[in-house]
Structures are given as structure tokens and as C-alpha cells.
């Protein structure tokens, strides 16, 4: 069945995608500059998940635009009537911090403090330093989906119909707690939850197939009672945006939604792609220059 799409709407959509791609390019610049600035951190997974986080925060998620001190977004921990995002694989904090800053939660200049002493931008995300936009600490893997489920249950109790999103890594699927959460969410019909697994096939010690084979995650989650869908290329903004829209559309029907999202670790920087080597190391000066040459500065560097 052909669906008639008016030409102007199509153009609007493509312009939105272009805008999101521009934001993603700037976020990628932020990521490599942040990890270079402190000579530590995790650029690979951050670059791979940039399109998802930009798609979520700049397009898919409903976030209150109420401004507070300094013209920044006023952050409410309870997120009432807002969509919530939880980052379970907290080591990709650079992409999270950049997207939060670019979305207006705090000054982009603060990105330069990443992983440095007295910073609110800790190596892994935390509520402890009261950085706006963060709702729970993460980094010790396997815990984020449980927290997201709790937040989703609270939304149901509160009669709040907004969604809860959570991102996990594929290596993270090896943690046992994930599967405790995986059985809970369908059993309790947590259908306001969209979980995303970043399938980049890499983890610290090598490829996930070699380190500990996840085998068929689609079959596993289906068997646990999830509605499973895929984003074939999580580094294609149009696919990401369409995938997130579909997830929202099919939510609310008694099942949690799982998105299996294929990405390339290091996406956007050619020499960081195709291996696990850039999981947790920072570029040197030369490598930084080479990376930045591939990423247009669209919104102005911090």
C-alpha cells in the first residue's frame, strides 16, 4: 500500500535530518576533543551512539523547555510529563555530556572539565555532582535497565504517559542483572519502556563473538516477551529517527520495546572504526587533528 506523503512534509523531514546530522557532527567533535583534553575516556562507543542520542534529545524525546538560571534548561529530577533517558553503559559519558550541553542543560564550556579534578563531568555519569540531565549514576554495567524500569513504573503510577528510554551496550548483555530486568519488564507489562542495545560487536578484550558470544539477542528478547525491532544502521540519522518513531508508535501495547541497533564503534572518524582498539583510549595531538578534519564544526567548538 502506497502512502501519500505531501512533498513539503518530505522536504521538512529531510531538513530536520540535515539539522540533526549537523548537531551530530559537532557532538562528535566535542567527544574527540573531550577525551583528548584529559587523555582518557571512551571515544569509540561514544561516536557510535552519537546519532541515537542526538535523535533522542533533539527530535524524539519530549523535554521541558522551561529555562532557569543562566538561560539553561531547568532540570527536574522527577521528569514529570517529560520523556526520560538512562545511559546504562556509562563509559560513553562523552556523548551524553556533549548532547546534554548542546541541548541546553549546561554551558558547553564545561565540557573542557571532563574527567578533571573538581568537575561535574565525572569519568562516568553521576548525580553526585548535580550535573543537570543526569538521573542516576552508571558505569558499573548492567544496572541501567532496572533503574529505567523503576522510572517507567513510577510514570504509570503517576498517570504520566511519557516514555522512558535506556541505552545499553552489547558487551553489557553479558551481565546477569540485564536478564533479571529482561524477565521483569514483560511480566509486569512495562510498555512505556524503549530499550536500545548498541550492537557494535566490540568490547574491551576483542569482538563480542570472541570474548563471550551473545548469540541471537533478537531470539532471546523475543523469548523473554519483548517486542523486538531493529535499526539496521544506527549511524544513519534518518534510520535512527524513523526507528525511534516506530518504537514510540508500537509502545503502549502491553510489551516493552527492544531496539537492536547496529552501529560502528568510532563512527565518523575513519581510523577509529572497525576494531575495539578505540574503546577506551584517547587520541594524541596528531590523531585529534586528523579526526577533527573529518568532522565539520557546525555549532562552534566549546
Amino acid at each position: 500500500m502506497a502512502i501519500f506523503v505531501p512533498f513539503t512534509i518530505k522536504i521538512d523531514f529531510l531538513m530536520q535530518i540535515k539539522e540533526l546530522e549537523d548537531i551530530a557532527s559537532q557532538v562528535r567533535r566535542d567527544i574527540v576533543r573531550m577525551v583528548h583534553g584529559c587523555a582518557s575516556g571512551h571515544p569509540g562507543g561514544s561516536l557510535g551512539c552519537t546519532d541515537l542520542l542526538v535523535g533522542l534529545y533533539f527530535q524524539q524525546m519530549k523535554i521541558s523547555n522551561r529555562k532557569g538560571k543562566g538561560g539553561f534548561l531547568s532540570f527536574r529530577m522527577d521528569g514529570v510529563n517529560e520523556d526520560l533517558f538512562f545511559l546504562s553503559n556509562g563509559h560513553i559519558s562523552p556523548v551524553f555530556y556533549s548532547v546534554l550541553a548542546r541541548r541546553g542543560y549546561f554551558d558547553v564550556a564545561e565540557l573542557s572539565t571532563f574527567r578533571k579534578i573538581d568537575s561535574r563531568l565525572q569519568g562516568h555519569p553521576t548525580t553526585h555532582e548535580h550535573l543537570p540531565g543526569i538521573r542516576v549514576a552508571s558505569g558499573s554495567l548492567g544496572q541501567g535497565m532496572s533503574v529505567a524500569i523503576g522510572a517507567a513504573l513510577a510514570k504509570k503510577l503517576n498517570g504520566d504517559d511519557r516514555m522512558v528510554y535506556v541505552l545499553m551496550g552489547d558487551g553489557e548483555q553479558q551481565e546477569g542483572q540485564i536478564w533479571e530486568a529482561a524477565q521483569f519488564a514483560p511480566h509486569h507489562k512495562v510498555d512505556n519502556l524503549v530499550a536500545v542495545i548498541d550492537l557494535n560487536g566490540q568490547q574491551i578484550d576483542g569482538s563480542t563473538d570472541q570474548v563471550m558470544n551473545n548469540r541471537d539477542l533478537k531470539a532471546k528478547y523475543k523469548a523473554f516477551g519483548w517486542r523486538v525491532m531493529e535499526i539496521a544502521n544506527g549511524n544513519d540519522m534518518e534510520e535512527v529517527v524513523k526507528g525511534l518513531r516506530k518504537a514510540k508508535r508500537i509502545s503502549g501495547k502491553g510489551q516493552p520495546i527492544m531496539i537492536l541497533m547496529n552501529t560502528e564503534m568510532g563512527a565518523g572518524v575513519d581510523f577509529m572504526m572497525g576494531s575495539h582498539k578505540w574503546h577506551g583510549i584517547a587520541p594524541n595531538d596528531e590523531q585529534l587533528a586528523a579526526a577533527l578534519a573529518q568532522l565539520p564544526e557546525t555549532l562552534g567548538d566549546y
Binding site: M77, D78, G79, V80, L84, T126, T127, H128, R135, V136, A137, S138, G139, S140, G142, Q143, G144, M145, S146, V147, A148, I149, G150, A151, A152, L153, A154, K155, L157, N158, D160, G176, Q177, E180, A181, Q183, F184, H187, H188
Partner: protein, 318 residues
């Protein structure tokens, strides 16, 4: 001067369950979770009256702690429940990251702590949980002594903001505290004033300390008995005031000597006022199967043991 009256025996976990029943009726933000131990935790009435505010997690305690953390984000006050062993050591990292470091308003409520769990044996007899929990930043640690105090602590925690660990037990034990008490977190309760020795006791050992006090009185020893129900934050003012008077200390707990109430008191004394101290606690050992009474006697957690340690510590006074 006696400030207690023995009435009847009841388990502390029923105090928790009845506290939850009351909270269910008075505080719409209170929710509870359980990892397949509803009967043991005595929350059936809460669940019956508020089915939408109960979440069964199955035998999956790590997930339960994470979900509890998430529920606080929407403004709820979750009480995740299980046995003390599974609500502390088994899920230490989940509590540490998702609850304590994240400063979530979760009230971890755990039963069957210590040796008095009895016949199930050492696999279930956690004796290290106070040490683990009191070393964790942001965490409040409470170990009430009878049914009434457990009920009052359960209710008080709903008005306290921040992570807490509430530890109670399985067997029926004497009720001797005021049924209408107002539970003050972090405020020690002086059971008996005395001048010869300070006996600081927590949990099931408070009744044993009271029994010991009566035996000591017959020997002409005037013991001050203080109930430290809140191990963190510790009522250091009450402890130092008492020890400055008596000049010696016996600490009593159903827990390892390493890292528990005794060490918390010793830390306070070492920094403020040196005095000899004896521990009534488990001495670097696992428990075993047996009745609660047999186990408490075998591992030296009885009134007789408290008397013995008291005589010893008084003799050490210079």
C-alpha cells in the same frame, strides 16, 4: 530506673509488616518490592490493601534494587524487601551505585539477619551486613530491637530523605519498648542509667543486655544500658557522655566483631575518650544450623556472655 516493660513475644519482622500496613494507609508515596519472600517479610496486608503499590520481582534481588532506585525518580519511597543476606552482600554494587552514590530515597528492609535465622545455616546467616552498609557513604543503618521499635523505625524512615538499610530478624523475641514511641533516627535510647559500665547493644542483643543488667545488679554492679538502634549516623554524644561517666564499655551485636557496632563505638572512643572495651559479637566465624537459642549461646551472644565480658572490662579499668 527501668524504662521498659516486658509484655509478650513477637518477631521484629512483624513490626516491619505492621509498620508497612500503617504506611500503606497514610502515605500514598510508599511502595514495596519483594524478591519472592512476601510471607517472610509480613507485607501481605500492605499488598492486599495497595496491590498497585507492590512489585514482585521474583528471585532477582539485583534488579529489585535498581527498580527501587528508578521508582524514587518519579517521587516514590520504595521499600525493597528480602532476607538480609540477599539485600546486602549479594547486591552490594547495585546498592552502592544505583542507590547510595546516586543518593536515592530507597529504604532497604531486610529480615532474617544474623544467627537467629537458625536452622537454614550459615549460607543465609549474614553477619557482615552492618559492616558493609556502615562503610557506604550516604547510607543510614538501623537495627531495631523489638516489634514496637521495628514498627516505629519503619514508619519513621518514610519521612527521612536518603538511602537507608533497615535490618531485623526472624524469631519471636520479647516486646519491651513503648508501643507509642516516636522513633528518632540517630538518637540512642537509654534503657537503664548506671555508673559502673556502659553496655551498648543493638537488635536482638538489647533484650540480652537487659537480662545481663539484672544479673549484674545482683552482683552489685550498676550497668548503664543504652540501645544503639541507629548504627549510622552513630549517636556519639550519647556514647561519650555515658563512657565519660562509667569509664568502660561492652558492645553487643548479632554481627561480626569486625566492622560492626563495636568497631563504630571503638572508632569514636579512640578519637575522643580512651576506655577499655569488650565485644559481644561473632568472632570472625560463619554460623551454622541450630535453633536460635542454641546458636546465640554457642557463639557467645547471650546474657551470660554479656555478664562475663562486663566483669572482664570492669577489671580492666585502671
Amino acid at each position: 530506673m527501668k524504662k521498659y516493660t516486658y509484655t509478650e513475644k513477637q518477631d521484629t519482622r512483624s513490626g516491619f509488616g505492621d509498620g508497612m500496613t500503617e504506611l500503606g494507609r497514610t502515605n500514598p508515596k510508599v511502595v514495596t518490592l519483594c524478591a519472592d519472600l512476601v510471607g517472610s517479610l509480613k507485607t501481605a496486608t500492605f499488598i492486599k490493601e495497595n496491590p498497585e503499590r507492590f512489585f514482585q520481582t521474583g528471585i532477582a534481588e539485583a534488579n529489585m534494587m535498581g527498580i527501587a532506585a528508578g521508582l524514587t525518580i518519579g517521587g516514590y519511597i520504595p521499600y525493597p524487601t528480602t532476607f538480609a543476606n540477599f539485600g546486602s552482600g549479594r547486591v552490594y554494587d547495585q546498592i552502592r551505585q544505583s542507590i547510595a552514590y546516586s543518593n536515592k530515597n530507597v529504604k532497604i528492609a531486610v529480615s532474617h539477619a544474623g544467627l537467629t535465622l537458625g536452622e537454614d545455616g550459615a549460607t543465609h546467616q549474614i553477619l557482615e551486613d552492618i559492616a558493609m552498609m556502615r562503610s557506604m557513604p550516604n547510607m543510614t543503618v538501623i537495627n531495631p530491637c523489638d516489634y514496637n521499635q521495628t514498627k516505629a523505625a519503619t514508619i519513621a524512615l518514610a519521612d527521612h530523605v536518603g538511602p537507608a538499610y533497615l535490618r531485623f530478624g526472624r524469631p519471636k523475641v520479647p516486646i519491651f519498648t513503648d508501643p507509642n514511641q516516636k522513633f528518632e533516627i540517630g538518637k540512642a535510647w537509654t534503657v537503664n542509667e548506671g555508673k559502673d559500665v556502659s553496655i551498648f547493644a543493638t537488635g536482638h542483643l538489647v533484650w540480652e543486655a537487659i537480662q545481663a543488667g539484672e544479673i549484674l545488679a545482683e552482683k552489685g554492679i550498676d550497668a548503664e544500658i543504652i540501645n544503639i538502634h541507629t548504627i549510622k549516623p552513630l549517636d556519639t554524644a550519647a556514647i561519650l557522655k555515658s563512657v565519660r561517666k562509667t569509664k568502660c564499655v561492652v558492645t553487643c551485636e548479632e554481627h561480626q566483631a569486625n566492622g560492626g557496632l563495636g568497631d563504630a563505638v571503638a572508632q569514636t572512643l579512640a578519637q575522643n575518650f580512651l576506655a577499655p572495651q569488650e565485644y559481644v559479637a561473632v568472632n570472625d566465624s560463619f554460623g551454622e544450623s541450630g535453633t536460635p537459642e542454641q546458636l546465640m549461646a554457642k557463639y557467645g551472644l547471650s546474657a551470660e556472655a554479656i555478664v562475663e565480658k562486663t566483669l572482664k572490662v570492669i577489671a580492666r579499668k585502671s
